[in-house]
């Protein structure tokens, strides 16, 4: 399998994640979409690293995974906080950013 | 006092006082007032000293100080004063000294009020003494921005009924309220600042991006095309602050809403920053464009004079009358500058000084009258002279200076300007100027008669009005004294002014 196959896979995963982020009504679902997008990026990094023979990409991926874990923890905490204050996890009903 | 950074002391003394006030003044109103008074008194002494010590025979920039701020960009803290600056610094010092005493009775948030006022003054002093255009611009903004808070918090709202085809917009923007006035003034002046900044940067880049210093830029000969549009940018940018037509409408609203000391400082000094900028930066750095655009400057100035005077005649609110008279008188300043003659330019700078003192006096008096009678409606008042003779006398003297009566400083300024106007390339400029002076005599004496003369008003609110008392006298006596002194001995100011205007005219090649 060449590099292109990995990149294609990453693109598909990214698109699925993006689709999920835009369309899911539940905030948890949105977070899962974000996870997918991040992992798509990780796939890209690993693939490039493998095919270009540079370890830096691998290291960056490890960092990214670690930070993703933190991000998920933070994101879930935010969702719980939102749920507690607004009694909902539906993204459409959370419009604090409205101008 | 050689070696003492006197210009820095003048500039930063009010700032230091502001710091003291913010640090220690929370619960000590007397400390606030006296530190403000001491801070500006230091500036005053410094201003008087440089006024005395300025070597007129030598001329040029004196009392220089300089250290680099950002050497790679050519930004330096560079201060110096020439004859025009010296006179303007003196004016600022006089007005702020009077202003501090005129606002002695501010009650709400006096700590912040005085701190902002002093910060503003630091900016004004800074503009008049900086040579580095970057620092100049910095000070310029410091002078403009506190105005927003000063008017927005301590101002007073008036009532402007929406009328005419644009009436709907008046309801939407809240015309008449102090918040509206503060916002309008700030937006106008920042709009002007944008032009100024563009102009400064354009010159900086065109000169090779090595220095913002006036002394470096003046050696560069800019391309005529560049000069032309940069001059217009400066003219509009600074001109807004000098209330050139049609960018003058911030002035009546702003001055009417502002508290006493702020009106004094704003009409008395800040508007002069505009004219000063046009002369110092625009005309000095861009000689060819000056020749190219003077017809426009003079033409607009003529409109200003007559338009402002006629508008002032139509007002019934005392503060609006004074504010529109400022629009008219700033026209005389710009007219004098536009004549490109020695007498005209001397008259312009002298008028900056004369109008500053006079309008400062006016606003101080309006503040006093309002404080005592709680009214600014000219035609509801009447016969006040018997109750407040001191205020009436001071108002009359201010009015006489305004209409250019000899033995007051207003006459010298107007007379010199008129001489210059007739000697300029557009002699007809004389006539709007003279007509404006006549119209001024109409509206000023009409106001004096309506408020102070005639039978006593029957309104029960106006029965027992006290004259000025205690510290209130300081501003009145000081300003009246200055008006008369410089009217009787004009050479006091004209001699130093000469040392800046003559080199400018030589640079412009008309002398």
């Amino acid at each position: 399998m060449g590099l292109h196959a990995y990149l294609f896979l990453a693109a598909v995963v990214f698109s699925i994640g993006l689709f999920g982020v835009i369309t899911r009504r539940n905030t948890i679902g949105i977070l899962l979409g974000v996870e997918l997008m991040l992992n798509a990026v990780n796939i890209n990094l690993v693939a490039f690293s493998r095919f270009h023979g540079q370890t830096a990409g691998m290291i960056l991926t490890v960092f990214a995974i670690a930070i993703t874990v933190a991000e998920v923890a933070l994101g879930l905490a935010l969702v719980i906080l939102l749920f507690r204050t607004r009694r909902t996890a539906i993204a459409d009903q959370i419009d604090w950013l409205k101008g | 006092m050689n070696g003492l950074p006197v210009l820095s002391i003048i500039t930063w003394a009010p700032f230091a006082a502001a710091l003291v006030i913010m640090a220690f003044g929370r619960t000590r109103p007397q400390l606030v007032r006296w530190s403000a008074a001491i801070g500006v008194a230091i500036s005053c002494v410094g201003a008087l000293w440089i006024f005395r010590a300025y070597d007129q025979a030598a001329g040029g920039w004196q009392f220089g100080e300089r250290f680099d701020l950002v050497p790679t960009l050519g930004i330096a803290y560079e201060l110096a004063a020439d004859g025009m600056s010296v006179v303007m610094v003196l004016l600022t010092a006089i007005i702020i000294l009077a202003g501090v005493f005129a606002s002695w009775t501010v009650k709400t948030r006096d700590q912040e009020f005085y701190a902002l006022l002093l910060l503003l003054v630091t900016g004004v002093f800074g503009v008049f003494v900086s040579l580095d255009l970057f620092v100049f611009f910095l000070f310029y903004e410091i002078a403009v921005l506190p105005m927003y808070l000063l008017i927005g918090i301590w101002g007073s709202s008036g009532d402007v009924p929406p009328r005419g085809v644009f009436g709907w917009a008046y309801r939407r923007t809240g015309v008449g309220s102090k918040e509206y006035a503060a916002m309008k003034l700030t937006l106008y002046l920042l709009f002007g600042s944008a032009f100024i900044l563009v102009g400064i940067l354009a010159l900086y880049v065109a000169a090779g991006s090595t220095s913002f210093s006036l002394l470096a830029l003046e050696k560069v000969k800019f391309a005529p095309g560049l000069q032309s549009w940069v001059f217009l940018a400066f003219y509009v940018g600074f001109g807004i602050l000098a209330a050139i037509f049609p960018f003058h409408t911030w002035s009546p609203d702003g001055h009417a809403s502002a508290p006493t000391a702020v009106s004094m400082l704003h009409a008395g000094v800040l508007m002069k920053l505009g004219a000063y900028g046009v002369i110092r930066v625009g005309m000095w750095l861009l000689p060819e464009a000056t020749h190219q655009w003077m017809w426009l400057v003079g033409f607009v100035a003529c409109i200003n004079i007559v338009w402002g005077a006629l508008s002032a005649m139509a007002q019934t609110d005392l503060k609006y009358v004074i504010a529109y008279s400022s629009v008219s008188h700033m026209g005389i300043v710009m007219l004098g500058a536009a004549t490109l003659t020695e007498t005209g330019l001397n008259g312009a700078v002298f008028q900056m000084f004369a109008h500053g003192v006079m309008t400062g006096l006016f606003f101080a008096l309006v503040g006093l009258v309002y404080e005592k009678a709680h009214s600014r409606e000219i035609f509801k008042m009447g016969g006040f002279a018997s109750m407040m003779p001191g205020i009436a006398a001071a108002f009359t003297i201010g009015g006489l200076s305004s209409l250019g009566l000899p033995a007051t400083s207003g006459f010298v300024a107007e007379f010199l300007t008129f001489l210059g106007a007739w000697a300029s390339a557009h002699p007809w400029w004389l006539f709007p100027g003279v007509i404006g002076a006549f119209l001024t005599s109409l509206y000023v004496l009409r106001v004096v008669r309506a408020i102070f003369w005639g039978p006593k008003s029957t309104d029960p609110h106006f029965q027992h009005l006290p004259d000025a008392q205690g510290t209130e006298w300081v501003a009145l006596v000081l300003l009246v004294f200055v008006i008369v002194l410089f009217g009787v001995l004009p050479s006091l100011a004209v001699s130093p002014i000469e040392t800046s205007t003559v080199p400018l005219l030589m640079r412009l090649g008309v002398m």
Partner: protein, 626 residues
């Protein structure tokens, strides 16, 4: 004493100036009233003494002493100077000014004895300022100083007319006087500026040299002369700028005597005398001056006949006499005008002060409510009649010779119609002045339709008018004796005028005067002519005269219905159009913001969608760029 005249006139100038500064700065002194008055009188007396000495030491008529100091600098030189110029004109005028000023200040002590001390102090402060400014005007060696003092005397006039500022009519009259003269001053200012541009100087001596080297009628000189004349016309109450002078009678009567009869109003005449060399270059303007002067003289004489207020009669008479002086100057004989200026200053001050004594005694200005006052106020009656005879141009009195000289001058100038107008005016002058005399001091028991004022209950029942105290009568007598002395002196010692007069002029001049007196006697004393029938015989002229020829109304119309309306229009445009556009822009900005705001749904997913679309668009654009 052999002090130089220029030092002496400087003393005369500075004495009242010092008094003014003292009274203005030291408030307790000013509020003390009588002390302030005495200091002011001392200042005026000093000035009078110095002026008389200067006159004596001046010697020959052609001598000129001057002393100037730099006032306004300019590059490598002096733009303008201030100083004193002592020559035959200025010193004579100085004597007149200081004399009348001193007498008026003494007289005022009695006239204003009821005023509170603070007001009295204020009055004397203004008086001192006036004395200083008027002398500064007279002694001015250049146009700029003349203009400065010109405006300052205008200021004093404004302040003193408005001395009783609580009276609405006084406040209005003061402002009116200032505005009207200021309108003329606009002309004067323009004239000075134009002249400076043409010659590069303000100095009279330099200008005279310059004028000597010029041809008559050089380009622009007529405009300049006309502008200067405008200023003179405003101050000296020439048609149509005379409207302020009758109203100026709202001021205290001594003020009217000093400012609005003897000194300030003659400043215009003085200016034209002083700068006659300029006007000679503009013969067309000279003709205008003469015609307007004669017209003013006649018009004001007609108007004076229609007045019942004693002070307004005198005011119109002043306007009329100023017209005489102007006519002489316009005819090219400034000396004749100047001579009349001096004599008129003496006897008109006398008349005003006499009228003041009458008003002080009976508390009314209305001559139809006075009568038979000669019995109760004999001294006042005598001096008033001396003044009247002077004004009517009766021989042996001061006005006779100067008036005749003016008539001769106008005739010699070839101005026949103005001469006839002036002769008619002379007849009317004698008539209206003796009307005042007969109605006030003589008459029958039923003196006027409304009866004598002092019998009215409003004004002090049981109060009988009597001569004023000595402090008021002494100045009157001094002026009366001077009027006669001048008249008699002129009969024996008199410089020959520069023109030939026909032999019939003297009898004719005396004749019209006596005819006027006779008509007044027949009408108001003998009552063999019915005054009402005489008046109604005049028909529309009478209506017009009572309305002041509607000149006031014309000015009022211009002010109220043209200028104020125009200014309100401009004010409205400024507020609702110029500023309206600004507010519309601002409102549009706010509204536009309101529209754009709706894009901000607040839903995170919408934003992410936006970002995604943006990224895709960016990718496509990048691909396109490649």
């Amino acid at each position: 004493m052999s002090a130089r005249p220029d030092s002496l006139v400087l003393v005369a100038l500075l004495a009242p100036a010092a008094v003014f500064v003292l009274l203005a700065v030291v408030a307790p002194l000013r509020r003390s009233g009588r002390l302030a008055a005495l200091i002011s009188i001392a200042g005026a007396l000093t000035a009078l003494g110095a002026a008389i000495l200067a006159w004596r030491n001046l010697g020959e008529d052609i001598d000129v002493f001057r002393h100037v100091w730099a006032w306004l600098p300019q590059h490598e030189g002096v733009l303008a100077t201030v100083g004193v110029l002592a020559d035959t004109y200025s010193v004579k005028m100085l004597v007149l000014v200081s004399l009348v000023a001193t007498l008026v200040q003494v007289y005022s002590l009695g006239y204003l004895s009821d005023e509170p001390p603070a007001a009295l102090g204020r009055y004397y402060m203004y008086q001192s300022l006036f004395a200083f400014s008027m002398m500064g005007l007279v002694l001015a060696p250049n146009f700029l100083q003349l203009f400065i003092c010109w405006e300052l005397v205008g200021l004093c006039s404004y302040l003193l007319i408005g001395f009783w500022y609580r009276k609405a009519s006084a406040a209005r009259a003061a402002v009116k006087a200032f505005w009207t003269t200021k309108a003329g001053d606009v002309g004067l200012l323009i004239g000075i500026v134009l002249l400076w541009r043409m010659t590069g100087t303000f100095d009279f001596a330099e200008l005279e040299v310059w004028a000597g080297s010029q041809q008559a009628g050089i380009a622009g000189i007529s405009l300049i002369a006309f502008c200067l004349y405008l200023g003179a016309a405003g101050k000296s109450a020439q048609f149509p700028l005379h409207i302020w002078l009758p109203d100026a009678m709202e001021g205290p009567t001594p003020v009217s005597a000093l400012i609005h009869a003897a000194t300030m109003v003659t400043a215009g005449v003085y200016l034209l005398t002083r700068t006659a060399f300029l006007f000679e270059l503009a013969p067309d303007v000279m003709t205008l001056v003469a015609w307007v002067g004669a017209g003013t003289a006649l018009m004001a004489a007609i108007l004076a006949c229609a007045q019942d207020d004693i002070k307004r009669v005198l005011a119109y008479s002043t306007v009329s006499q100023l017209g005489y002086m102007m006519a002489a100057i316009g005819a090219g004989f400034a000396n004749a005008g100047f001579l009349h200026l001096l004599t008129h200053g003496v006897f008109k001050a006398l008349l005003f002060l006499g009228a003041g004594a009458v008003i002080h005694a009976v508390h009314t200005n209305d001559i139809t409510r006075m009568g038979r006052l000669a019995k109760s106020m004999p001294q006042t009656a005598v001096v008033f009649i001396i003044g009247t005879l002077s004004l009517a141009g009766v021989p042996l009195f001061a006005g006779f010779l100067s008036k005749e000289e003016i008539l001769g001058a106008v005739l010699a100038g070839g101005l026949t119609v103005p001469f006839v107008m002036l002769a008619v005016a002379a007849f009317l002058t004698a008539f209206y002045m003796f009307r005042v005399v007969f109605l006030t001091f003589f008459g029958t028991a039923d003196a006027g339709p409304k009866g004598p004022a002092y019998e009215e209950p409003v004004h002090a029942r049981g109060h009988h008018p009597h001569d004023a105290p000595a402090v008021m009568t002494i100045p009157l007598w001094i002026l009366a004796l001077l009027s006669m002395a001048i008249g008699i002196l002129f009969m024996f010692h008199h410089e020959e005028p520069q023109f030939e007069s026909p032999v019939w002029l003297t009898p004719a001049a005396v004749g019209v005067g006596l005819a006027g007196i006779g008509l007044a006697w027949l009408t108001f004393q003998r009552r063999s002519i019915d005054g009402d029938r005489l008046a109604s015989a005049m028909g529309p002229l009478r209506t017009a005269a009572h309305a002041g020829f509607w000149i006031d109304d014309a000015f009022l119309f211009v002010y109220r219905s043209v200028l104020l309306v125009f200014s309100r229009t401009i004010g409205w445009i400024d507020r609702y159009v110029v500023d309206g556009i600004v507010n519309v822009m601002s409102a549009w900005t706010v509204m536009g913001g309101g529209r754009l705001r709706r894009m901000q749904t607040g839903r995170v997913q919408d934003y992410v969608f936006g970002v995604a679309v943006g990224v895709v668009a960016l990718l496509i654009w990048l691909g396109g760029v490649k």
